[in-house]
């Protein structure tokens, strides 16, 4: 295990020590005025006071807000210091009085406040007062809006157009022992503003026009959340450093949001995702299926919300549990959830299943160390939501085939009873009926069981209880017996039926889980894309009774359909697949997009990029419901993941192959280069060291050979595609100087004209120098230098700088000057040396770094060869 660095440890311990003798600092952080920071602080103060803590109010401005004003009642308020300054009475926080009073805790509002100037006060800013109070061992509650944080000031100015002057340094937050985020949806804050609960009326109207715009408030709210979240990060880090937990104990936050078939769920889902992003954690959405029937509307909303979870990148889990709270907690514990988010609508109900308070209470009691956020959900934009939902509407139609079974079971029971009647007497025969009803509970729905119980009771009465063949009962004893038989049959039957339903549901879930598990194992064993396709086609057939096809798109957009079943998407169906790939969202049958298609298409996404789609064609009469949809979704997501994995794997293999080839090329190139140049070096040096005509000849020819070798090697670099320019800003002198030197141009052999204030060039210097050298050598060779070459450097639009080399030689072939860029082309083969690669190489080197090489004839005779270079972005 990695131990913390000693220095870090020391700082952490010092922090801890420093804090232990000090008062505790609690900061109430909000997004704007009016969210209720002061209110919350005073509430806290009252709580403390009630539990016997000596708490006073050092500074509170109620801004005439009645509810806040009321809260100051019953608290000890430290009188403010009054000072005269230039004829104005100024009120000041009485720091010394508070220090002398020595309460356990003090409430000090308006943290960013700047103390009046010129009164000889100790501190310029109120937060400095607060620090001094803390140093004296007194706890402080204080409040701060996020826009006053120094690091946020300019962002706030950008968002709201208001520049905040009173600031608090960010490091002040580090001093806090606790930061309490006071959160309120923007809409509610605006409501408060309009109701005049924040500012008096005219000021409120002005505020709404400027600072209190909804967009502003949302941005500020996000900022406050962000500050609070990053603070939580730091706390965990500090704790870990001190306790030697290091990198091993990594708690990635895992958030969980409860999903309902309610329009309020959407905003809590979005909020959870945002929070998860801020906290760099993962998140899941959970639906607790308590077995209660849902209305059409709820079902629709539930599907919508489920889809939303998936679209926003969360995992979705359904759990069957009769109790909402227990179900949630069970999933939370299995999934190591750290934060649980439950939406709370402001109408006081979460959902029609439960009515507010008690559920939240129970959740909190059961949660252990899981944090619970109960979120004030915002109303959805289009409020088409009915006020109350009808309860328990039956959703599945009555299974009429059970009708036959009722008659059959009734008939069999009657036959058996008739056979036994002579021996057993009519009383005991009732037991047969009870048994029949009980057993039927194993197979029939609850309604059918009840119907059977009623039928058999009537039969018992009619055929066996005297007086026979009437529905009347003579004997009161018999009536009592009849009633008891009926009740027993009905309730036992009901119970059995319910147990059976539950068992079946659990069984179904287990089957599905088991199937998914097997599917994932089979897919994991696959070694290639074809195998994944084969296995998943078989599994889709087995698990969903459907057919599957995979559509993958090549880089140019051509679809490549693979299917080992009879289903082969084409035409309109293929268009759906294209849409799915582009939008990275499911579409087709059973979805909201293009539901008329014959199959459902799910996207294959890799690194945020749609690669293709998996199409699933289910039987025409397939009855899709929530559970089945979830299951299908789970199956397909396993399949798409396996496909994505194989695609990535194949990509990697290809890359490795390319890398190998490049390496091989490089080492071959190096060794060829070495083998050719070393002997030439030796020959050249040797030739220099001996004198005589022959030696000069050897020297010149080896020089020529060297030039050829260099050109061939350069050309090979270009053509192998392994040229990797290293672009850096360079000045013109860094290119011109070395090239002129390498081309051995004397001062008299060229003139230079350079435009002023050229930007830096964004080039690979060695390649560019080589290109320019080749061009200069070429000009010198073919045009001669009787008239000096002109080198003109000028700036061109769209980040270009051009270096033109103008000569007065014979010029280029007039019909097609660009022929000189053809390999091995030479204008006048008679001239010695060169194999016609100099200019093609120059062009290749320039094009590799985004530039180019052009050639044309000049009107006044001779050629102009121009290097186009990319300039630095200015």
């Amino acid at each position: 295990m990695e131990r913390p660095h000693p220095d870090k440890l020391l700082t952490a311990i010092q922090n801890e020590e420093r804090k232990s003798g000090r008062g505790q600092l609690k900061i109430f952080l909000g997004m704007a005025a009016g969210v209720g920071k002061t209110f919350a602080m005073l509430q806290r103060a009252h709580q403390l006071k009630a539990s016997g803590v000596d708490v006073i109010v050092g500074w509170v401005d109620t801004h005439g807000r009645a509810d806040t004003e009321a809260l100051t009642q019953g608290l000890e308020i430290q009188p403010r210091l009054q000072r005269q300054h230039r004829g104005v009475t100024l009120e000041i926080l009485d720091l010394d009085a508070i220090l002398a009073r020595r309460p356990k805790a003090v409430v000090i509002d308006e943290l960013p406040h700047t103390n009046p100037h010129g009164l000889g006060l100790r501190h310029k800013k109120r937060y400095q007062d607060v620090l001094e109070i803390l140093e004296n061992g007194i706890d402080v509650f204080t409040a701060l809006n996020v826009q006053h944080l120094e690091s946020r000031v300019h962002v706030v100015a950008e968002i709201t157009g208001v520049t905040v002057h009173e600031t608090v340094p960010d490091s002040f937050l580090d001093e806090a022992d606790e930061i309490i985020l006071i959160d309120l949806p923007a809409q509610d804050l605006l409501q408060r503003l309009r109701e005049g609960r924040i500012y008096p009326e005219e000021k409120a109207r002005a505020a709404e026009k400027h600072f209190f715009k909804k967009g502003n408030l949302s941005a500020l709210r996000e900022m406050a959340l962000r500050v609070a979240a990053s603070r939580a990060d730091k706390e965990a880090l500090a704790y870990k450093t001190l306790h030697g937990i290091g990198a091993v104990w990594r708690t990635t936050p895992r958030l969980m949001v409860a999903v309902f078939g309610s329009p309020y769920s959407g905003s809590s889902i979005r909020w959870t995702r945002q929070l998860a992003e801020l906290m760099k954690g993962t998140w899941i959405g959970v639906y607790v299926n308590s077995g209660k029937a849902l209305t059409e509307e709820e079902r629709g909303l539930l599907e919508e919300n489920t889809e939303l979870v998936r679209q926003l990148g969360g995992e979705f889990i359904t759990i069957e549990h009769h109790d909402f709270v227990d179900g949630l907690i069970q999933v939370a514990q299995q999934q190591n959830v750290t934060q649980l988010i439950v939406g709370r609508s402001r109408r006081g109900f979460w959902h029609n299943l439960f009515s507010g308070g008690p559920t939240l209470q129970r959740l909190q009691n059961r949660a252990g160390n899981i944090d619970i956020y109960s979120l004030a959900s915002e109303r959805p934009e289009a409020a088409s939501w009915p006020k109350r939902l009808p309860r328990n509407m039956p959703t599945t139609s009555y299974p009429w085939e059970e009708f036959g079974w009722i008659l059959f079971a009734g008939m069999m029971a009657w036959l058996l009873a008739s056979a036994l009647h002579p021996y057993a007497g009519y009383e005991s025969i009732g037991v047969i009926f009870i048994m029949t009803v009980t057993v039927s509970g194993l197979f029939l729905s609850r309604a059918s069981v009840f119907a059977l119980a009623a039928l058999l009771s009537l039969a018992h009465n009619y055929f066996f209880i005297p007086p026979l063949h009437t529905l009347t009962i003579g004997n009161p004893r018999d009536a009592l017996m009849f009633a008891m038989y009926f009740l027993t049959a009905a309730s036992v039957g009901q119970l059995t039926s319910r147990l059976q339903t539950q068992k079946r549901r659990v069984q179904n879930r287990e089957d599905r889980t088991l199937n998914l598990y097997h599917l994932s194992r089979r897919l994991a064993e696959c070694q290639s894309l074809e195998e994944v396709n084969r296995v998943s086609t078989r599994e889709v057939e087995r698990l969903l009774r459907g057919q599957m096809a995979t559509v993958l798109f090549q880089e140019n957009g051509t679809p490549n359909v693979q299917s080992s079943s009879a289903y082969f998407p084409a035409g309109q169906e293929l268009a759906v697949a294209v849409w799915v790939k582009e939008q990275r969202k499911p579409a087709g049958r059973f979805t909201e997009t293009l539901p008329g298609s014959e199959a459902t298409y799910y996207p294959i996404v890799s690194r945020g990029l749609g690669l293709g789609a998996v199409g699933i064609k289910l039987p025409a009469d397939y009855a899709m419901d929530f559970e089945r949809k979830n299951f299908a979704h789970a199956v397909v997501s396993q399949i798409t993941q396996a496909i994505e994995r194989e695609i990535l794997h194949e990509g990697r293999k290809r890359l490795e192959l390319v890398g190998e080839a490049e390496k091989l090329y490089r080492s071959l190139f190096d060794s060829v280069s070495h083998e050719l140049k070393t002997p030439l070096t030796t020959i050249r040096i040797a030739a220099q060291e001996i004198s005589g005509d022959l030696a000069t000849q050897i020297g010149e020819q080896s020089e020529r050979l060297l030039q050829v070798v260099n050109h061939l090697l350069d050309m090979s670099r270009i053509e192998s595609g392994t040229l990797k320019p290293n672009l850096k800003p360079e000045s013109l002198g860094d290119v011109l100087g070395p090239a002129i030197q390498a081309a051995q141009l004397r001062d008299t052999e060229f003139t230079l004209k350079v435009e002023d204030n050229l930007p830096a060039l964004m080039i690979d210097a060695p390649l560019t120098v080589q290109a320019l050298t080749n061009v200069l050598k070429n000009a010198k060779k073919y045009a001669g230098t009787t008239k000096p070459l002109e080198i003109v450097v000028s700036r061109r639009p769209s980040r270009r700088v051009e270096i033109s080399v103008l000569d007065s030689g014979p010029g280029l072939p007039p019909d097609r000057p660009e022929i000189i860029f053809n390999k091995f082309y030479r204008v006048s083969p008679a001239l010695a040396g060169g194999i016609g690669l100099g200019l093609p190489i120059a062009q290749g080197f320039l094009q590799a770094q985004g530039g180019n090489l052009r050639a044309e004839n000049r009107k006044e005779g001779g050629a102009r060869v121009t290097l186009e270079l990319v300039a630095e972005d200015t």
């Binding site: 070495h674 070393t678 050249r684 040096i685 060291e689 800003p729 000045s731 230079l752």
Partner: protein, 230 residues
């Protein structure tokens, strides 16, 4: 006497040639064919300079360089082929004094060896220097061009000083940055380009085709030595 030179190169023909020619110029030349042998020879003979080929058969030349630099202070010159700018820069930053590119010229090689030895022996001196029509007095912090004083900012002067002190020797971007701007500035290649441009503007006869502060493309800068006195 010119001193002992150790040539570490796997090419026998080149070694033989260097032995012959360098001996003719008064050096005593030792040979080694690979890194292992080279290191042993360096320890045994304590040469006055080492010529090191980067492409050795048994080990990377760079790693041998690092190993040598742990104890060996005398000049080390790199023999390289073209298209290896990154390797050259790495070698220079790891403590090589200079480099020549194969196919090199013997006079060039000898000049480089001499410059490196001179710097090693601390013979570069700080008295006033005359380069063309420039007179540079490092002690007085004064530069005149054709008799007229050239005003340099302190950064420009520092840069000139570092280049001049290492005259004839290539300096990588990183080395210059470290010397002029301090150890933590090696990322700011931009500064270097800008200040070097200013220097050229003020000192060079033609700033776009510098003859004083030369560019080694992709490697660094070299302050041109005045042509040999003879």
């Amino acid at each position: 006497m010119r001193g002992k030179i150790l040539v570490i190169d796997d090419e026998p023909a080149l070694r033989k040639l260097l032995v012959t020619t360098l001996s003719a110029h008064g050096f005593e030349v030792l040979e080694a064919t690979d890194a292992r042998e080279g290191h042993a020879a360096a320890i045994a003979n304590r040469p006055d300079a080492i010529l090191l080929d980067l492409g050795l058969p048994d080990r990377d030349g760079l790693s041998l360089l690092t190993q040598l630099r742990e104890w060996y202070r005398n000049p080390i010159l790199i023999l390289s082929v073209r298209d290896q700018e990154e390797t050259i820069v790495a070698a220079l930053d790891k403590g090589a004094d200079d480099y020549v590119t194969k196919p090199f010229n013997l006079n060039e090689l000898i000049a480089r060896i001499r410059v490196a030895q001179k710097h090693y022996l601390g013979e570069s001196g700080i008295g006033p220097r005359t380069v063309g029509n420039l007179i540079i007095d490092l002690e007085k912090r004064q530069v005149t061009k054709g008799g007229v004083e050239v005003k340099l900012t302190s950064t420009e002067f520092e840069l000139l000083k570092v280049l001049l002190k290492n005259a004839g020797k290539v300096m990588t971007h990183r080395q210059l940055l470290r010397e002029v701007w301090g150890p933590n500035s090696s990322e700011h290649v931009q500064y270097l380009r800008v200040y070097l441009g200013h220097l050229r503007q003020k000192l060079e006869p033609s700033p776009h085709t510098p003859t004083l502060i030369l560019t080694e493309p992709g490697v660094g800068y070299r302050f041109a030595l005045p042509p040999p006195d003879k």
